[in-house]
C-alpha cells in the first residue's frame, strides 16, 4: 500500500508498504529517519516515541496505515519544532495550557532544513531539551535518548515547571539502562530552569 503523511513538517509518500509494518519501520527503513529507536518493538521501552498529531506515542505500536494524512514529529525534527514553538511565544504552537498541541496547530507547523553539523558534534541548532541532555550528562549509550527527548519536550510544553514527581511520571514509559535516570532528571530540570530564565528575560 501507499501511505502519505507528514514527517517533521515535510510531506512524505511511502510506497510498497506491507500492511503489517509499523510507523517505526516506515520511518527507519523507508524514509531514512532511524533516529527513533527499535529497542523492544512491543511498546514497553519508549525508545521509539514520536509525536502523532502532537500526542506522544510508541511508533512501534502504530500501524503505518494509521498515519495516513497525519503529522509526525521525530527526534530529527525536534530542534525545528522547538524553534517554531519559541517563535510563537514560547508556547506549544500556540496551544500551551490546553494540555499539548492541537491537531490543527501540529499540522500547520513547518520544518526548516536541519542545521546540525554532524561532523563537529558541537555545533548546529538544538532544541533546549537536547542541549540540556548533553550538558547534564544524560546521554550515555544514547539509545533511549531520542524517545526520552520527545517525551521530555512534550512534558515541558504542557508543564513548564514540573516537579520531580511530574518528571518521573511523564518519563515512566521510557526505559534507560545506562544512567540510573538521575542525569535525565537533571537535564529536564535544567531545560525547565533555562526556559524559565528565558521567559523572565523576555518579560524584563
Amino acid at each position: 500500500m501507499r501511505v502519505n503523511f507528514t514527517v517533521n513538517g515535510r510531506p512524505h509518500e511511502a510506497d510498497d508498504v506491507w500492511e503489517g509494518e509499523s510507523l517505526l519501520y516506515v520511518l527507519r527503513e523507508r524514509l531514512g529517519l532511524p533516529g527513533s529507536k527499535n529497542a523492544c518493538e512491543q511498546g514497553e521501552c519508549g525508545s521509539c516515541t514520536v509525536r502523532l498529531d502532537g500526542v506522544p506515542v510508541c511508533s512501534c505500536l502504530v500501524a503505518a496505515g494509521q498515519v495516513e494524512g497525519r503529522e509526525v514529529v521525530t527526534v530529527e525534527g525536534l530542534a525545528d519544532y522547538a524553534k517554531q514553538r519559541a517563535e510563537s511565544g514560547g508556547c506549544a504552537s500556540g496551544a500551551c495550557g490546553n494540555g499539548g498541541t492541537s491537531v490543527g496547530d501540529a499540522q500547520r507547523w513547518q520544518a526548516e532544513p536541519a542545521g546540525t553539523d554532524s561532523q563537529t558534534g558541537e555545533q548546529g541548532e538544538l532544541a533546549p531539551i537536547q542541549q540540556a541532555f548533553i550538558d547534564a550528562g544524560a546521554v550515555q549509550c544514547g539509545f533511549c535518548t531520542p524517545g526520552l527527548l520527545v517525551a521530555a519536550d512534550e512534558l515541558l510544553e504542557r508543564n513548564a515547571e514540573p516537579t520531580d514527581a511530574d518528571i518521573r511520571e511523564a518519563l515512566s514509559g521510557n526505559l534507560c539502562r545506562c544512567t540510573g535516570y538521575e542525569k535525565i532528571l537533571d537535564a529536564v530540570r535544567l531545560a525547565a530552569a533555562r526556559g524559565e530564565a528565558a521567559t523572565a528575560g523576555q518579560g524584563a
Binding site: I134, C141, G142
Partner: protein, 795 residues
C-alpha cells in the same frame, strides 16, 4: 563501500572545548546522539541489502532428526537458507575461551533458543515467515537443570568428549571449571569463634537488557572478504572467532564498530556476527540482521544464577575468625565466560574483609539452561549478595551495629587476599562505609510532606494507588563490595593506541585511533581528554574503532579507561617525545632550556616545567605528521593454583559502599526504594560527570536485581518464560530513587593518573544494601534475589 549509509563517523571536538583530564568535558558523540544522527548498528542501510533471520530451537534439549528447508527456499523474496551443512570450513564452533558453541546446531540443541538455521530475504517479515516454513524434526531429551541433575551418575553429558584445558581438573564433565581456594586453617580457626553463622543464598538469572538490539550489517567485498559493521565489546575477539568459521584470513574480515546501544557484558560473546557474514558471502549481497527484544533474550548470555553456601565465625568482640563457602554458578549450555566468572567468584568470595583462614570452592555447571557469561560485576555480584547478608546476620548475633561490625573487619592497603595477593593500593573500605553512613537520611514519610493528601507516586505501588501510607514501614540497609579491575589470572591484557599529531589549518590537531568499543561508558570522551592533557592541543579527532588498528581488548572488567586510556596516554607520551626531538633539532641553539629543562606541551606550545614558552607547536611541527601505534600493558598477573587458589591473580581492586532506604507495603509486599546512596573510591576521576553517571547506572542495575529482574526458566523444561520487557522488568524512572554519590579519589600509583576502574563496583553492593533494608523493615530473612512480593507477604 560508498553505498553504505549511516556508518560511523569521526568525532571531532573543537577548540572551544579545553578540557583535559579531571574536567567534566561533554561527550564528543553527545550531539549526534541527541539529534538522532548517531549511527547504531541497527540503523545501517545498504542499497539492495537483504534481511537475515535466525530460526531457533523451541526446546532446551533435543536431538535434531532432520531439517527440511525446501519449502522455505521456495518462498518469493528468499535468497538463502543455511543450516549446519552449509558451514564452509571444518571450524564449526566458536567461543570466548572454550570453542564449544555451534555456529548452527548439529544434530542436537542444548538450550532453548539455540540457532538452528538462517534465512536471508528481501524483507524482514518475508525472512521470518520463511523461517517458519523450515521443518525441523526434534526428539526431546531429558534436561539437565541444576547441580544434582548435572552431576548425577547417569546425567546426560552436555559436551561428551571434552578436551578443553579445564576438562582435566574438574570432578565431572558437566562442570565447566572448578576453583578451590585454601588459605590458613579454617577448621582450627573455627574453634576460636564465639558465634558461627551459616546460610544458603540464591541469586536469580539477570539480563543485561541493553536497549540497542543485537544487530549489524555484513557487506561482501570484491576480494572475497567481508566488511562487517557491528555492535560489540571487543572487535578483535570477535574477529578471532569469526574468521576461521568463514575460512577467511583475518585481514579479509574488516570490522568497524557501529553505534552500540549499551552492553554490560552481553556483547562479549558473538551473536549474529558469523550468521550475517555467512548469509552475505552466500548471497553476494549485503545482509542486515536485527534481533527484536524477544530474540535478544535468546541472543546473548546472561548473569549466572547462583546458589551460595556460606559459613562465617566471629569472636564476641566482633572479629571474623574464618569463612567457608561453596558457590555453584549455572553456566547453561555453553562455556562462554564461565571459567573466568568462577575465578572471580572464588577469589572475591571473602569480600572486602580481613579473614586469614578460608576454605572456598566455586564451580560453574553445564546445564540445559540458557548460557550464562559476562554481566557487569562478573561473579563478584553473586558473592557480594551472600557475604553481605552474612555480615548483617553476624552483627545481629553479636548485637553490634552492622556498619561498625563491617568496619572492624574491613580490609585496607596491605591486607592479603585469600589468594595470597597483597592489596598494594588504597582500600578505603571502612572510610567508604563511614561516608555513606554520614550522608543525611531522607525525611520520614515524605509522602505526607507534600500536603494534605499523600502523593502516591512516592509510595510503594505508586500510581496503582494501593496505599496512602497504611502498612508502610521503612528500613535502612548497608553493604560494601570488592571487584577486580582488568582481565586476571595471567591474561595478556594489553591495548593499542595510534596517535597522530599534525598541523591542520594552522592549528595542531591530535587524532586518536583505537579499537576500543565505545558502548556508552564515555571512553571516547576520556581519550580526547588524555590527548589534550598530554599533547597540549585543544582539537582532537577520535577515529571510528575498527580492526585496522591493533586490539584494544574488551570493554569490560571496568578496564577500558585504565588499559586503553593507558595506551592512549602512552602513545601520546611517545608522540610528545618525537615532537621534542624535532624541537631540539630545530631550536636548541636558541635556548638552553631545550637541553636542560623538563619540557611539556601546553596550550599548543612547548613549555618548560617552569612555565616558560619555548616554541609554538605549529612551528615545531610545520609539515611533519607524527604518527605512532603502540601497545601498552598493565603489570602482569598470574593464574590461580588449581588446588590452593594461590596466585597474584588480579591487577587492581575497586570498592564501593551503598546505603539503601526503602519503604515496604507489608500487606502487598511492594517495595519503594526511597534513596540509594553510594560512596566509591575512583582513584582519580578523569571525567567526574561520567564517573557519577557510571556509579548511578551501576547502582540502578543492582536495584533491579534486588527487587525485580529475573529471567524465569521453567525448572521442568529449561525454557525461558519471560523473554520480553513486558515480563522481564527493569527499573523505570519511577522505580529508581535519588542516588547521591560521594566520590573518593585515592590514587593507585600503579595505574595511569592513579585511576581506578569504576564501572562494576557500584553494581555489587547496591543489591545487598536494598535487601538489607527490606530485611530491616520487615524482619524477614530474604535469602534470595530478586525479592518478590510473595516473599514479603508469605503468600
Amino acid at each position: 563501500m560508498g553505498d553504505v549509509t549511516r556508518t560511523p563517523t569521526n568525532l571531532t571536538q573543537g577548540s572551544q572545548t579545553r578540557g583535559g583530564i579531571g574536567e567534566s568535558t561533554l561527550r564528543p558523540d553527545g550531539t549526534l546522539k541527541a539529534t538522532g544522527e548517531f549511527a547504531y548498528s541497527s540503523d545501517l542501510w545498504h542499497e539492495d541489502m537483504l534481511w537475515g533471520h535466525t530460526l531457533r530451537s523451541p526446546y532446551a534439549h533435543a536431538e535434531i532428526r532432520s531439517i527440511d528447508i525446501s519449502e522455505a527456499l521456495q518462498q518469493a523474496g528468499v535468497y538463502a537458507v543455511l543450516t549446519y551443512e552449509d558451514l564452509p570450513t571444518e571450524v564449526k564452533n566458536y567461543g570466548l575461551e572454550i570453542q564449544d558453541t555451534p555456529v548452527l546446531a548439529h544434530g542436537r540443541v542444548r538450550h532453548h533458543g539455540e540457532p538452528v538455521a538462517l534465512v536471508a530475504a528481501d524483507h524482514p517479515e518475508t525472512a521470518r515467515r520463511a523461517a517458519a516454513k523450515i521443518k525441523v524434526e526434534y526428539a526431546e531429551l531429558p534436561v539437565v537443570t541444576d547441580e544434582a541433575s548435572a552431576t548425577a551418575p547417569d546425567a546426560p553429558l552436555l559436551h561428551p568428549g571434552r578436551d578443553d584445558h579445564h576438562s582435566g581438573h574438574v570432578t565431572h564433565p558437566n562442570i565447566v571449571h572448578r576453583q578451590p581456594i585454601v588459605r590458613g586453617d579454617a577448621e582450627a580457626a573455627r574453634t576460636r569463634a564465639d558465634v558461627i553463622v551459616s546460610g544458603e543464598y540464591e541469586v536469580g538469572m539477570q539480563d543485561q537488557a541493553f536497549l540497542g538490539p543485537e544487530s549489524g550489517l555484513a557487506v561482501p567485498a570484491e576480494d572475497g572478504g567481508v566488511d562487517l559493521y557491528i555492535a560489540t565489546q571487543w572487535l578483535h575477539s570477535d574477529l578471532r572467532q569469526i574468521a576461521p568459521v568463514l575460512g577467511l584470513p583475518e585481514e579479509k574480515v574488516r570490522m568497524t564498530l557501529s553505534g552500540v546501544g549499551g552492553a554490560f557484558g552481553g556483547r562479549e560473546d558473538l551473536s549474529m556476527q558469523i550468521h550475517a557474514c555467512l548469509l552475505a558471502l552466500r548471497t553476494g549481497k549485503p545482509v542486515k540482521m536485527v534481533y527484536n527484544r524477544f530474540e535478544s533474550f535468546f541472543g546473548h548470555v546472561h548473569r549466572h544464577p547462583a546458589k551460595l553456601w556460606y559459613e562465617h565465625g566471629a569472636t564476641r568482640d566482633g572479629k571474623l575468625t574464618h569463612m567457608k563457602c561453596r558457590i555453584v554458578l549455572d553456566g547453561g549450555a555453553y562455556a562462554s565466560a564461565s571459567p573466568a566468572v568462577v575465578g572471580n567468584a572464588s577469589s572475591l568470595s571473602v569480600g572486602p574483609y580481613v579473614i586469614d583462614d578460608v576454605e572456598i570452592e566455586a564451580i560453574a555447571l553445564y546445564t540445559n539452561n540458557p548460557p550464562c557469561g559476562a554481566m557487569r560485576g562478573f561473579g563478584a555480584v553473586q558473592a557480594c549478595f551472600a557475604y553481605e547478608a552474612q555480615m548483617d546476620r553476624l552483627a545481629a548475633e553479636l548485637d553490634l551495629d552492622p556498619v561498625e561490625f563491617r568496619q572492624l573487619n574491613a580490609m585496607s592497603q596491605g591486607t592479603v587476599m585469600p589468594t595470597g595477593q597483597p592489596v598494594d593500593s588504597p582500600a578505603p573500605v571502612a572510610e567508604l562505609l563511614r561516608r555513606v553512613k554520614a550522608m543525611p537520611l531522607p525525611p520520614q514519610k515524605q509522602w505526607e510532606s507534600a500536603g494534605e493528601s499523600a502523593d502516591v507516586r512516592a509510595l510503594p505501588g505508586g500510581l496503582s494507588n494501593t496505599t496512602h501510607g497504611e502498612g508502610v514501614v521503612r528500613g535502612v540497609g548497608y553493604a560494601v563490595g570488592i571487584k577486580n579491575v582488568g582481565f586476571s589470572e595471567g591474561f595478556d591484557d594489553y591495548s593499542t593506541a595510534r596517535v597522530r599529531l599534525e598541523v591542520v589549518n594552522g592549528e595542531p590537531v591530535a587524532t586518536v585511533h583505537t579499537a576500543m568499543a565505545e558502548v556508552g561508558q564515555g571512553g571516547v570522551t576520556v581519550h580526547a581528554q588524555i590527548a589534550r592533557t598530554e599533547l597540549g592541543v585543544t582539537q582532537v579527532t577520535i577515529n571510528p574503532a575498527d580492526t585496522q588498528v591493533g586490539s584494544a581488548g574488551s570493554t569490560s572488567a571496568s578496564r577500558q579507561t585504565y588499559v586503553t586510556g593507558g595506551a592512549v596516554k602512552n602513545s601520546c607520551e611517545a608522540v610528545r617525545e618525537k615532537v621534542l626531538e624535532i624541537g631540539r633539532r630545530k631550536f636548541s641553539t636558541y635556548h638552553p632550556a631545550w637541553a636542560t629543562a623538563e619540557l611539556l606541551l601546553e596550550g599548543g606550545k612547548v613549555v618548560t616545567d617552569g612555565g616558560e614558552v619555548l616554541a609554538d607547536l605549529v612551528d615545531v611541527l610545520e609539515d611533519a605528521a607524527i604518527d605512532l601505534e603502540l601497545e601498552w600493558r598493565h603489570r602482569p598477573t598470574e593464574p590461580f593454583d588449581l588446588h590452593t587458589g594461590q596466585g597474584q591473580g588480579h591487577v587492581q581492586y575497586s570498592f564501593a559502599a551503598h546505603r539503601a532506604v526503602v519503604e515496604v507495603d507489608t500487606e502487598l509486599g511492594l517495595v519503594k526504594v526511597i534513596e540509594l546512596a553510594c560512596a566509591q573510591d575512583v582513584g582519580k576521576a578523569l571525567n567526574p560527570l561520567s564517573v557519577v553517571g557510571q556509579i548511578q547506572g551501576g547502582t540502578t542495575q543492582g536495584l533491579g536485581l534486588a527487587v525485580m529482574e529475573e529471567i524465569v526458566v521453567d525448572p521442568k523444561t529449561s525454557r525461558v518464560r519471560n523473554p520480553s520487557f513486558t515480563d522481564y522488568l527493569i527499573p523505570t524512572i519511577l522505580d529508581t530513587p535519588t542516588i547521591p554519590v560521594d566520590v573518593l579519589e585515592l590514587a593507585d600509583d600503579h595505574a595511569p593518573y592513579g585511576l581506578r576502574g569504576i564501572g562494576e563496583a557500584p553494581t555489587l553492593s547496591s543489591t545487598p544494601a536494598v535487601v538489607a533494608a527490606i530485611r530491616q523493615a520487615t524482619g524477614l530473612a530474604l535469602a534470595r534475589v530478586p525479592v518478590r512480593p510473595e516473599h514479603i507477604t508469605g503468600t
